[in-house]
């Protein structure tokens, strides 16, 4: 397959190799993160007038799904501010690579907690408490502050980016869908790496990845530390065709299947709660601790942990039975989880279009009056309208859902021996797409 190595351009290589451009971007995102927390704690309680709500849940969350992931894979992780304070302490300096004399116990993350299980659990929590978190600036700020402190505390106990690798729900989200993204970091010449005994790239990597062994972009945060310390200029940053990590020869794990299913369930439930016409469902999702909320939570968990996994398990079992070579069910579930990647990514993009096109008008007024205190910094604080879904945005959502169905069906065929074997997986994708279609434009 064709690849375009960005490091062949001397300018691009210089930009990637220098720590300064990345540091400046990180400094900006860290400042924005701290300001978001402050505005959530001190600003207006009216969500649509508070920078924290508008910036996190409309501007950033939308940009992540519509720009960063589909065009840059895990590129957001390379400028995410959350791990920075802990990483600076670990490294003993702001522009220091790993391996210096920093703070922290440097313990290894417990083996039984590895994988993306806890990230999926974190995403389930976002779904369960989403109606409150997405609409209360104070709760949003408290959640962000908690995440910042948790990431810092973990980095003082465990080595590298343990929080990002195993706990961050957004890390799980971006990692899963980065497999479909058009950016990858790989080695240029395998033999050069094999002959290099120091493995400086592995030592420097805050994600604990060894570039020679990278087969998927799910766990590489594109921090470029390996590229900076490689003595042989043997690291490539490739632009590649979308979906390059999905195919018959790639390896996948059971926790990826679980994460993919949680993402699908969350897309369905969020569409129903936030975009549907069912007021009682919204009230139930919001009234945390009430009997209605427990009913909502039970339904959500049943969808995420029962119905969708059950349907997927049935599809994977049937696909396995229809093949000429049978593997155990666990291997089937992991292998076929690739189908969930394009399906989920496109469903989230379609959901986001529905959400963002209507609400994006709140962004500039929130910049103009970030705390809701009556300021008018850029003269746009009174320009927020109600917003509306246009026929263009509705048609676009349908088109994107169909791209997801086409893509996942194609992946199902590619990783199956015959079309007959792929049929149950295609049926699963079709059923999910139909549900999303009904929720978004039905």
């Amino acid at each position: 397959m064709t690849r375009l190595d960005l490091t062949r351009s001397p300018r691009a290589l210089a930009l990637l190799r220098s720590r300064w451009p990345q540091f400046l971007l990180r400094a900006i995102t860290l400042a924005g993160f701290v300001f978001t927390i402050l505005s959530g704690l001190m600003g207006s309680v009216v969500g649509s007038h508070n920078f924290a709500i508008i910036f996190v849940w409309i501007a950033w969350w939308t940009t992540l799904k519509l720009v960063f992931i589909p065009f840059g894979g895990r590129s957001w992780c390379s400028i995410c501010p959350i791990p920075l304070p802990g990483e600076w302490l670990q490294n003993g300096g702001i522009l220091q690579p790993r391996g210096g004399t920093g703070f922290g116990l440097g313990k290894r993350w417990p083996r039984f907690l590895k994988g993306s299980w806890m990230q999926a659990g974190g995403f389930l929590l976002i779904g369960l408490f989403g109606a409150m978190t997405l609409t209360s600036a104070k709760i949003t700020a408290i959640v962000l502050l908690f995440i910042l402190i948790l990431a810092l505390a973990l980095s003082l106990v465990f080595e590298r980016r343990s929080f990002c690798n195993y706990l961050c729900p957004i890390g799980g989200f971006t990692g899963l869908y980065a497999q479909a993204g058009p950016v990858e970091l790989r080695v240029k010449d395998v033999d050069i790496c094999a002959a290099h005994s120091e493995k400086t790239c592995y030592t420097a990597c805050p994600w604990g990845q060894y570039p020679l062994a990278l087969k998927s972009s799910a766990n590489c945060g594109l921090c470029m530390e390996c590229l900076r310390v490689c003595p042989s200029d043997n690291i490539a940053v490739n632009l590649r065709p979308w979906g390059s990590d999905l195919g018959p020869k790639t390896k996948h794990r059971l926790d990826e299947a679980f994460l993919g299913l949680v993402m699908l369930a969350s897309a369905l439930v969020d569409s129903a709660v936030f975009l549907g016409p069912w007021g009682q469902l919204k009230s139930a999702a919001y009234a945390i601790g009430s009997p209605a909320w427990f009913l909502f939570s039970g339904s959500f968990l049943l969808t995420a942990l029962g119905i969708l996994p059950g349907l997927y398990l049935g599809a994977a079992w049937a696909a396995n039975r229809l093949g000429t070579t049978h593997v155990n069910l666990r291997q089937s579930l992991a292998h076929y989880s690739q189908v969930l990647v394009p399906l989920g990514l496109m469903a989230w993009i379609a959901f986001t279009i529905s959400f963002a096109f209507v609400k994006f008008g709140y962004v500039l007024p929130a910049v103009s009056d970030p705390l809701g205190w009556g300021w008018n910094l850029i003269g746009l604080s009174k320009t927020a309208g109600v917003g509306e879904a246009t026929s263009f945005s509705l048609n676009l959502q349908v088109a994107i859902l169909m791209v997801g169905l086409y893509w996942s069906s194609r992946v199902a065929c590619r990783i199956s021996e015959t079309i007959r074997q792929a049929a149950p997986l295609i049926a699963f994708s079709g059923l999910f797409t139909l549900a999303m279609l009904w929720l978004l434009v039905g």
Partner: protein, 145 residues
């Protein structure tokens, strides 16, 4: 592939006839409370002349209908009335247009005017997407797990 793109454009944009119904005058009373409209889903026919009575049962609520530039605002316990003609077919969301609490941005209802052709077009496109995926890999080698 060009064939599939052409077919998908045809499915998307080909004009389809709506079942003809005699337009009626309708009076629809909608109760707005935190954070829902009752009824939340309304179905009418194209051409109907619709009078909306918006009643707010708690705080000030608004009613803004996507695609129609139709807005109402009701004070607590008061009724606001307005009329529009349903000249466009399809599904349209209506939203609260006055900040009424934390879930205000998601206080949404649904008005269906005639048949929801976009949903049916979507289903047809889905079948086409699956067919396109199968055809695109017809000659490609298959894998072994």
């Amino acid at each position: 592939m060009l064939l599939f793109i052409g077919m998908s454009l045809l499915i998307f944009f080909a004009p389809l006839p709506q079942p003809v119904q005699i337009p009626k005058d309708r009076l629809i009373r909608i109760e707005a409370s935190s954070f829902q409209f009752i009824p939340g889903e309304i179905q009418i026919n194209p051409g109907d002349r619709v009078t909306v009575e918006l009643v707010s049962t708690d705080v000030v609520h608004g009613f803004s209908l996507d695609g129609y530039s139709f807005e109402l605002k009701a004070d607590p316990g008061q009724t606001a009335t307005g009329t529009f003609t349903a000249g466009k077919a399809g599904v349209f969301r209506f939203r609260c247009s006055v900040a009424c609490g934390n879930l205000h941005p998601f206080m949404i209802g649904k008005l269906q005017v005639g048949v929801n052709l976009l949903l049916f077009r979507g289903i047809a496109l889905g079948l086409l997407a699956i067919a396109a995926a199968l055809v695109s890999l017809r000659k490609a080698p298959r894998r072994r797990m």
